[in-house]
Symmetry: C2
Subunit: 327 residues, 2 copies
């Protein structure tokens, strides 16, 4: 681990986060050493958050650290991997205070305990610019078992975990465009700020699913990635969208329910998983997810072809780019 002029912070705040991982070498060497067990492969992902783009200036630095970690763990979850460790490369803004740095380290500390992972290395520096946090996360899968996007088969159901659209509503709250009850507000903001990577699905994915992706760009856009990577058509049923009680209350207040559902399905940051599951296995898959404390809902079906369509009330819906815009 390097970090010119940052030795104190690395030694006092980051090195303790690496203490449980021998190959991290106390963050005091040129690189980390990672042992991969026989019969396993390593799954590696990297995601960067930039202040002012992926989170608003002034966000609690502990929440920033935890989200940076969690969006990466979510990618591991989509591959059916068990997380092992992570590296973090940080560019602090020149104005960074000890509060920012310590809050960041606190956030990493609390989440690495929750997810049973360790910091194994990285880099810190500072510059005149926004705060940049890059995380690279490492996970393990049984060799040859990494769950990719391209394994959907014609007839497979599109199954999503949890509920869709909560992060969109959280974003609307953060932008002061929506003001629900205090309880819904807290729930929806937490869904935006502290997504739960669906690591608990790993066994069910390996047992039953052919393909998976995490929903960062929106249910429609990411499910589309599954269809394109698998060379298939996909029909998504907007009316089947699994909604939280909070989202259901919001939907009840909307004039154009179809446009509202489309918004929930088009914006990102849900970090649920969208999976392709053969119809004969759907009931078992759903039951296993329920056992893990998580809902699962069939929202579409794959077919031969190359068209992605969204339906509501049995009629196709124009869904546009279906993409994700940050706050």
């Amino acid at each position: 681990m390097s970090g010119k002029g940052e030795f104190g912070f690395i030694r006092n705040r980051l090195a303790p986060l690496a203490a449980g991982f021998k190959g991290a070498l106390g963050l005091a060497d040129d690189a980390a050493v990672l042992t991969v067990r026989a019969g396993r492969e390593l799954v590696i992902t990297a995601d960067t958050l930039v202040e002012g783009r992926h989170f608003p200036e002034g966000t609690d630095p502990a929440l920033v650290a935890r989200k940076a970690l969690r969006v990466n763990l979510s990618d591991l979850a989509a591959m059916g991997a068990r997380p092992v460790g992570y590296m973090t490369s940080v560019v602090w803004p020149s104005s960074a205070t000890d509060t920012l740095r310590n809050g960041f380290a606190d956030g990493l500390a609390s989440d690495q305990e929750i997810f049973d992972i360790a910091l194994i290395g990285g880099d810190t520096t500072s510059a005149d610019g926004p705060w940049v946090i890059s995380v690279t996360a490492f996970g393990e899968v049984p060799a040859g078992k990494a769950m990719t996007r391209s394994g959907a088969k014609p007839g497979d159901c599109l199954v999503v975990s949890g509920t869709i659209g909560d992060a969109y509503l959280g974003l609307r709250i953060a932008k002061k465009e929506f003001s629900p009850s205090a309880e819904d507000r807290a729930y929806l903001l937490e869904r935006l700020e502290l997504p739960v990577p669906r690591l608990a699905l790993a066994d069910a994915l390996h047992a039953h699913a052919g393909a998976a992706i995490d929903i960062s760009d929106g249910l429609i856009a990411d499910s589309r990635h599954l269809a394109v990577a698998s060379g298939l058509s996909l029909e998504i049923d907007l009316d089947a969208l699994p909604l939280s009680d909070a989202a259901r209350r919001w939907l009840g207040d909307q004039d154009d329910t179809q446009a509202a559902r489309l918004a929930l399905a088009s914006f990102g940051d849900d970090y649920e998983l969208a999976c392709a599951v053969p119809p004969a296995r759907v009931d078992t898959f759903v039951a296993e997810l329920r056992k893990a404390g998580l809902g699962a809902t069939v929202v579409g079906v794959f077919a031969p072809g190359d068209k992605v369509q969204v339906f509501s009330g049995g009629a196709p819906v124009e869904y546009g780019a279906g993409g994700f815009t940050h706050f």
Copy 2:
């Protein structure tokens, strides 16, 4: 690989860099898959370059890409590892042009051919701020054989590869503080801009050395890291500093030769290796490096204790922080 709004660049310019690496999944999935061969361990390092801090604004983007890659490969070299692949997380400035992006991809392409590695994933985004390039590099070592900083023994010689201080002089040229002949200018600037990671030393390190570090912060500062990590004293002989012909010519023009040598030994970016080698093995080690086309020079000796001293003409020299300041 993700990169909101960057799909075209990823598909057209980055995906071809991953074409030779199956586990990169065409940069089209949530994560990459890396297989580590039986009896091997993975060595992982991350380093970030920030425009305006680690390289001047306006630097040829191909050179930036290559240096970002090479400083990471240098860390792998210091661990005695063979590079396998790398990930890159880039934050483009809002003003980034196609020339910048394509130049960056061109630089990666030329260097990954030289070093026989592939891009396996990463992330791209953009923001109002300086250009930020984070690279995470992966290498392999025989299990248990990673070369760390802490393995120096009392009596070991401090041996450095190549020549020291060229990058410092290159920096002086870049800052218009030094104007040598055209030939020396070209040589010294290349040493600054395109350091050669000393991967060729891997076999000799494993066979003969107990500890190694790459010189990024300066010979004195980094050798000091070896001494501290190994719990030893170290005496460095400033008069033994291996110098290039260009550095020798510069030295000949300096009034205070000792201060000049100290400057060469105190500034970073050489990316040579400093190694601890038992005296009985030094001749063989040096001979093997010569066979690999590289000079090697004994510049110090480790001893019991905890003091790092620099000598010149047999007398101790005050060396201050011995640290590295960027341009």
